[in-house]
């Protein structure tokens, strides 16, 4: 292992703490760049969704993980981005223009949502963002002259510099990847700037932040606006990927999925958003695998343990019936959320850090390093 001796403030805020990071991220980027030429088209499509979800995850991390403002309304921001793109595209606005316009509009609406949020704390904020999302959903369904109502809108293929980019082409994937990488780098830079550290201060203690001279209201609104704008960008890509959008795609369910992304990935580092996005997008292929291959494998195991062919066949059909149950995905989501909250609140990235630390400190690792503290604070109603 390598010890880092930090002698300078610059050492502390560097993007890459040492050359090992540059090598490993470089390798990762190289793998991602050759992926379209190796993977099947289905997996490529999933990878595009990973990029989009991870972008939204980063946006939500800035708001929830770093500013401490929970939001269950991000599906609405995604919808606003997607609909802006679809609407402007009808009037032959070029892609770069409506891409930026979608981000700008969503950012402005995010700021507008941020203002009421100033007075709200914790659970009230969650409820307010949920109701904002419901209102947006209803507006999308009713404002038929713009959004085409419940019939939904077709989104034409993206055209970049006059060249059409179909939604399953490698170029579209590279575009999504570029947006994700730019978002991550931009957010990292934001988070080590004074603005980002004001966000973290507000998360840790609003009173302390205020007494340090931070304009809490301004930074909360900023955080909402930035988060919403990034989600709006992701919404444009989302619309193009799906090529058809309708109001029932942007429900509370989707907002919860975004929260799951950051919960499972880990809410304290941008790595978490990417890991969580991979996790949530890959549940679908995993379930398909469970449906198609798993029964055979389990029957095979049963057979090797001496079960008769009839019993093995019986087991196979039972497992297949279980795997194709209707609500299995929802039940798995539920169990996963509860298990993560109970046993791994730091998420997948937290688990990775623990494993890394275990090997770094090998005989000296202490479990309690990551122990959370219970705080039986006085009632929040008295805040």
């Amino acid at each position: 292992m390598r010890f880092l001796f930090k002698t300078d403030y610059e050492d502390d805020i560097r993007l890459f703490p040492h050359s090992g990071y540059i090598v490993s991220y470089g390798l990762l980027l190289a793998v991602l760049l050759i992926a379209p030429y190796v993977l099947s088209s289905y997996l490529m499509s999933q990878l595009v969704f990973v990029c989009i979800y991870a972008t939204v995850g980063v946006a939500l991390l800035i708001l929830t993980g770093f500013t401490g403002q929970a939001s269950l309304g991000h599906a609405a921001f995604l919808a606003i981005g997607a609909y802006t793109a679809a609407y402007l595209q009808k009037y032959n606005v070029p892609f770069p223009v409506y891409f930026l316009a979608a981000g700008l509009l969503t950012g402005c609406i995010g700021a507008l949502v941020g203002f009421p949020a100033l007075r709200l704390q914790g659970i009230y904020l969650v409820i307010a963002t949920i109701s904002f999302a419901f209102v947006v959903e209803e507006i999308l369904a009713r404002w038929e002259s713009v959004t085409n109502g419940n019939e939904g809108m077709r989104v034409k293929a993206l055209s970049l510099l006059g060249v059409a980019v179909p939604r399953d082409s490698p170029t579209f994937y590279f575009l999504c990847l570029a947006v994700l990488v730019l978002t991550i780098v931009g957010s990292l830079n934001l988070l080590r700037s004074p603005t980002g550290r004001a966000f973290v201060a507000i998360r840790d203690s609003e009173t302390a932040a205020r007494s340090m001279g931070i304009n809490v209201a301004l930074y909360k609104v900023k955080s909402f606006a930035i988060s919403a704008a990034i989600t709006g960008f992701a919404g444009v890509l989302f619309a193009h990927k799906l090529s058809f959008i309708s109001p029932e795609m942007f429900t509370l369910q989707l907002s919860i999925e975004f929260i799951i992304v950051i919960l499972i990935g880990g809410t304290f580092s941008l790595h978490g958003a990417v890991l969580g996005a991979i996790f949530i997008v890959m549940i679908d292929p995993f379930l398909t695998y469970l449906k198609d291959d798993m029964p055979g494998i389990i029957a095979g195991i049963a057979a090797t343990f001496g079960a008769s062919t009839a019993t093995a066949g019986n087991v196979q059909s039972k497992v297949a019936a279980f795997a194709s149950l209707n609500g299995l995905k929802g039940a798995i989501y539920g169990v996963i959320i509860v298990l993560f909250v109970l046993f791994e609140p730091l998420g997948l990235y937290g688990r990775w850090l623990k494993i890394k630390l275990f090997f770094q400190l090998f005989p000296l690792y202490k479990r309690s390093t990551f122990k959370r503290q219970k705080i039986y604070v006085k009632s929040e109603r008295n805040r």
Binding site: T64, A70, P116, R119, L120, G122, I123, Y124, V126, I127, A128, I130, S131, F132, F134, V135, E138, A141, R142, T207, L252, I256, I259, L263, T267, L325, N326, G327, L328, K329, G330, A331, Y333, G334, V335, I336, I337, V338, V341, L342, P345, R372, K374, I375, Y376, K378, S379, E380, R381, N382, R383
Partner: protein, 291 residues
């Protein structure tokens, strides 16, 4: 005028159901500062239990009702023991997520067991109507209103007149201090969950004749109960019911007098307005914090 009264009564009946669900939120919130996002799903599950006892096993309505309430009270305790107790005292975000996960799980499991069709329970109130002049009031709606009034009275007595109720109020004010005073906070919390699941079951069974039982009904109604709880001031039992009734009336009036679409949004617009203008709600009290 007649239309107005008719809408008012059905609004009040619907609002009582919202109020009952909101009551569950408030009970849990009062005792543990936890907002139980799975409350609506507990209601749905209670409805399904009652359907199993009454519709499938053919028990008497009242026995089935009591059985469902008892079963759900046990289930509430179990859910508290497994999901909530390990994370009591941790940041609210974790607990909100855990109850969202619980809700997801219950919804899917109910869909797997009972299927995704609509179910109906035959109740003694399903048929009759009460006529006052030319006003027609269905018995099922009146039964909801009556049951809400009785439940509220019981809960009020429980919280204000019994030792257990006092212990609950104490542990909601300051959990650590309650520990120090010898209140078995864990047991109190678990009883609170049992009560709130039982109240949710009452809502589910009473609702069964009005809207059918369906595995997603909990999500829809549970989210309507949020405006009710906030309007009344999260943490106030009479507030929850009054908030629920107001939301019910607003929804019913918006559905009748305003163009299509307003019915679903009106409760949330009211909620946003309340959060903006009076975040502590109608019955909540604002306490200044000393730093």
């Amino acid at each position: 005028m007649l239309d107005f009264v008719q809408q008012l009564v059905s609004g009040v009946a619907l609002g009582c159901v919202y109020g009952l669900i909101a009551l569950g939120f408030v009970l849990v919130y009062k005792a543990t500062e936890v907002v139980n996002f799975a409350q609506g799903d507990l209601m749905m599950l209670g409805g399904f239990f009652a359907f199993t006892f009454i519709g499938m096993m053919g028990l008497n309505y009242w026995i089935g009702f009591a059985g469902a309430v008892a079963a759900m009270a046990l289930f509430g305790m179990l859910a508290e023991r497994i999901v909530v107790r390990p994370i009591l005292g941790y940041p609210q975000f974790s607990i909100i997520m855990a109850t969202i996960g619980l809700g997801y799980f219950l919804r899917s499991i109910a869909g797997m067991i009972w299927g995704t069709d609509d179910f109906k329970i035959e109740t003694p109130f399903s048929q009759g109507v009460l006529r006052i002049g030319s006003l027609v009031l269905a018995h099922d709606k009146l039964s909801v209103i009556a049951a809400t009034v009785i439940l509220c009275a019981l809960l009020w007595l429980f919280f204000n007149k019994t030792a257990l109720g006092t212990a609950m109020r104490a542990s909601s004010e300051n959990m650590l201090a309650a520990y120090y005073m010898g209140i078995p906070v864990k047991r109190v919390v678990s009883i609170v969950w049992a009560i709130s699941a039982a109240v949710a079951t009452c809502a589910g069974v009473l609702l069964a004749p009005i809207t059918f039982i369906h595995s997603n009904v909990g999500l829809v109604l549970g989210l309507k109960a949020f405006p009710a709880a906030v309007l009344g001031g999260f943490g106030s039992i009479p507030g929850a019911v009054v908030g629920g009734v107001l939301i019910g009336i607003i929804e019913s009036m918006a559905g009748f007098y305003l163009p299509e679409g307003w019915k679903d949004v009106a409760p949330y617009l009211v909620l946003l307005a309340v959060l903006l203008l009076k975040p502590e709600g109608l019955f909540g009290h604002h306490v200044r914090k000393k730093v």
